[in-house]
């Protein structure tokens, strides 16, 4: 495990930002921590980077407790955040000149290639760059030393699609031997390349699993009944986000198994005319889970 969190708790004064958070990230994986704004994604990442200290629990990064991360570890961790404050009064070139000597394995050829790709103006002050340009610059400074772990905190937030695609492509082209930990609520942007996902909601991790397993077990189900739908008194626990309209009932099945679907429908609804089970994209899955959590009053 390149990152391992066990029962992390983080409090800011009386308010609890994270509670009982546990997750693990395999080396070489692309792990997405998803959740709504305020769910605790950035807090989690800041604790991973030793910017914040957990109130309780164990958090290790590259085998070292996050509170004991040293410059030797940061030499192998790239980090890009939408909130990252770069030294605005420095020019792009001067900033890279400043950062470069801190890294023992800085690859100047890679740096130049990325600069060419992103077309960054070397003489321009960082404060005069657009948000997209600043993120590109941060990415250059996070990848040019060939890190083992790349931590991205909402990197695509507020970017136009062209810039976003450019950044994603750039990250993926260097993904070999790289573990990526990304937090985002722009789920369409990350769906194509994440391997594992953790769903954080109001400071608690609801689940984590590989994207293949998640895609396999979650379906949007639409059931057409013989007569106007009468919702069951209690929905099965695995069915979330239910709704009825006329003789159609719909819900999200979170433990979908094709061979058991017919019998499940019959048990709950009796006679059904038609059952449709559609795969869901990550965004829809996230929305369904979030809505279900809201319904349960968390």
């Amino acid at each position: 495990m390149i990152i391992e969190a066990r029962n992390i708790e983080k409090r800011f004064g009386p308010s609890e930002a994270l509670s009982g958070l546990s997750f693990s990230v395999d080396e070489g994986s692309v792990y997405a921590l998803i959740g709504a704004n305020g769910a605790g994604k950035t807090t989690t990442i800041k604790m991973m980077m030793n910017i914040l200290a957990p109130t309780r629990g164990d958090l290790t990064v590259m085998g070292t407790p996050s509170r004991e991360l040293t410059s030797r570890h940061l030499n192998q961790i790239g980090y890009v955040s939408e909130n990252q404050v770069l030294p605005g009064q420095m020019a792009v070139g001067a900033y890279l000149d400043y950062v470069r000597p801190f890294y023992s394995n800085w690859d100047e050829a890679l740096e130049k290639a990325m600069l060419r790709r992103f077309n960054l103006p070397m003489e321009r002050k960082i404060r005069a760059l657009s948000h997209g340009m600043r993120i590109k610059l941060a990415l250059v400074a996070a990848l040019a030393f060939k890190p083992k772990l790349l931590v991205l905190d909402e990197p695509f937030s507020g970017l136009d699609p062209l810039v976003r695609d450019d950044l994603v492509e750039s990250v993926l082209s260097h993904a070999e031997d790289l573990t990526i930990f990304i937090s985002s609520h722009e789920l369409n942007d990350i769906e194509g390349f994440v391997s594992d996902v953790g769903f954080l909601n109001q400071g608690r991790l609801l689940f984590e699993e590989s994207i293949e397993v998640l895609n396999a077990r979650v379906r949007s189900i639409r059931v057409t009944l013989q007569s106007p739908a009468r919702p069951p008194d209690t929905w099965p626990r695995a069915w979330i986000d239910p709704g009825t309209s006329g003789n159609v009932a719909s819900f999200v099945h979170t433990a979908f198994a094709e061979d058991q679907l017919a019998s499940e429908m019959a048990t709950v609804f009796g006679d059904v005319k038609f059952v449709q089970a559609e795969p869901m994209d990550l965004r829809s899955i996230f929305t369904a889970f979030a809505r279900a959590e809201q319904m349960t009053g968390r």
């Binding site: 910017i51 404050v85 770069l86 941060a138």
Partner: protein, 506 residues
């Protein structure tokens, strides 16, 4: 790597460094243009302002540079770079030294050498001054910079400290201790160094801003408490540390001049704080100079019950129109020849009001320094040209701007221990014209170092007769060094404080 970070800070913040250097150069330019006589007044005021501006701009620059890699932030780039926090701390401390210690040391050393200090005392004095500036400006600015995120936050903290100081001033009715008192200096410096070290340690190791702000608050309260320790306590410390074990004898004997039959002494000033004239008999060793360092006034009832004790100051500059032979704060052989001497001392208004018309016993305890001659030389000093006087320092003469029959002799004590000088003009036969004129500097050294020689030339003038408009006569100059400290107590039995203003006026 700290040097790499320092280069970055200098590249980004060079205008601040340039401003600090410009202000220091301006201060040096002003000192050199004031010359050894420290005139005109406009330049003296400008010099005071430039010194203050240097400290303010240096402090501002340090805070800005510390905040460029902010400790209190959770978003700044340096946090996720492999930058050792010790390197970052070292860089900021180096920057603080660069804008406080280095320019002060270099430029003050230059001024000291130009003013005639020997190399070793010049280096020691300028290094000490630079260290004080670093501790007094650099370290607090570093500490404030590390616990704040913006200039406005830092300004808020500085303003809050200023308000606490004002509160201390008001609560104690302006009773701030003498900052030249070495125990006070030591205590304040210790508070600054310990608090700054703690804050820097906490911030650059644990980023524990809450605790660091607590340390700053405690340090501020401690410093204010030290600064506003009641005067009497400060003086008792001084007396204990400086005079506790010295002899009560010595080369001078001061006593109440009962020949004056003065049973009534009292307020003799029409405006401002009361001044009382104490009739004194003075017998001093003609080979010594004695100066008053402090005077402690005690008032007791006739039956010996203590009523009041406190520090008072000598009103040596008070216009002596109301009595003859007003004594100053320096005694020499010529003091023996005078009769009807009076010592004018300032009395706090509240003390006068409380004990007015009270019959009792007044005691004046004098804390005295004595000086012995070291060397005597003969010299003819050309006007306007500073000249070294062996064993003492540098002297310069000029025609008195207001009286062309008088020559002003300015002597600048340039060694650590030279404090007093006696000068007399010689006639063509080589005999002295009149008695030697004596001057001492009371507070020109700190910790034995002549730091005043660097930035505060001041006046130290002896007036001598001119030679019929033909330039200056040859002089004899005798330099003196500190020889000892003494306590003398003068008791005034059966006197009554009263308001003599009306009778003095009439």
């Amino acid at each position: 790597m700290w040097l790499h970070i320092l280069k970055k800070d200098l590249r980004l913040h060079w205008p601040y460094v340039a401003a600090v250097l410009a202000l220091k150069i301006a201060a040096v330019w002003i000192i050199l243009h004031m010359g050894i006589f420290a005139e005109p007044l406009e330049l003296v005021l400008l010099h005071t302002f430039s010194d203050l501006a240097f400290a303010v701009v240096a402090g501002f620059a340090i805070i800005v540079v510390v905040q460029s890699d902010p400790i209190v932030s959770n978003n700044d780039d340096w946090l996720i770079r492999p930058i050792r926090r010790s390197d970052l701390a070292l860089d900021k401390i180096a920057f603080a030294a660069l804008v406080t210690f280095l320019p002060t040391f270099v430029f003050d050393l230059g001024v000291g050498l130009i003013h005639g200090l020997d190399t070793q005392p010049a280096i020691s004095a300028s290094a000490y001054t630079a260290l004080v500036i670093f501790i007094g400006v650099g370290l607090p600015a570093l500490a404030v910079g590390t616990i704040t995120a913006s200039w406005s936050q830092a300004a808020g903290i500085v303003f809050a400290i200023f308000l606490i100081w004002i509160a201390g001033f008001i609560v104690t009715d302006g009773g701030m201790v003498d900052l030249d008192n070495w125990p006070v200096q030591l205590a304040l410096m210790a508070i600054l160094v310990i608090a700054s070290a703690l804050i820097l340690g906490l911030q650059y190791s644990r980023r524990n801003t809450t605790t660091s702000r607590g340390v700053l608050a405690v340090a501020t309260i401690c410093a204010i408490t030290v600064m506003f320790t009641p005067r009497i306590v400060g003086h008792l410390i001084l007396r204990f540390t400086d005079y506790g074990k010295v002899a009560t004898g010595g080369p001078i004997r001061l006593s109440f001049d009962d020949q004056s039959k003065a049973e009534v002494i009292g307020k003799a000033q029409q405006l401002g704080d009361p001044v009382i004239y104490v009739p004194l008999k003075v017998v001093v060793d003609p080979n010594r100079i004695v100066t008053i360092n402090r005077v402690i006034l005690s008032i007791a009832s006739n039956d010996g019950k203590p009523l009041y004790s406190g520090i008072i100051s000598v009103a040596s500059a008070y216009p002596p129109h109301q009595v003859s032979n007003l004594l100053g704060d320096t005694f020499d052989g010529t003091s023996n020849d005078r009769t009807s001497n009076y010592q004018a001392v300032n009395l706090p208004s509240d003390v006068f009001a409380k004990f007015k018309n009270t019959r009792g016993r007044l005691s004046l305890t004098y804390l005295l320094n004595s000086y012995a001659p070291v060397a005597t030389i003969k010299a003819a000093l050309p006007f306007g040209t500073p000249q070294k006087v062996p064993g003492f320092g540098v002297c310069e003469t000029r025609l008195n701007p207001a009286n062309d029959q008088v020559v002003d002799l300015y002597c600048f004590p340039a060694t650590n221990s030279s404090k007093c000088i006696a000068a007399s003009a010689l006639d063509p036969a080589g005999a002295s014209i009149g008695a030697p004129q004596t001057r001492c500097r009371a507070t020109s050294t700190q910790w034995g170092l002549n730091t005043a020689a660097l930035t505060d030339p001041g006046q130290f003038v002896v007036q001598l007769p001119t030679a019929d408009g033909a330039g200056i006569r040859p002089l004899t100059l005798t330099s003196y060094r500190a020889a000892g400290r003494f306590i003398q107590t003068v008791v005034l039995p059966q006197v009554r404080l009263t308001d003599l203003t009306r009778s003095a006026g009439s």
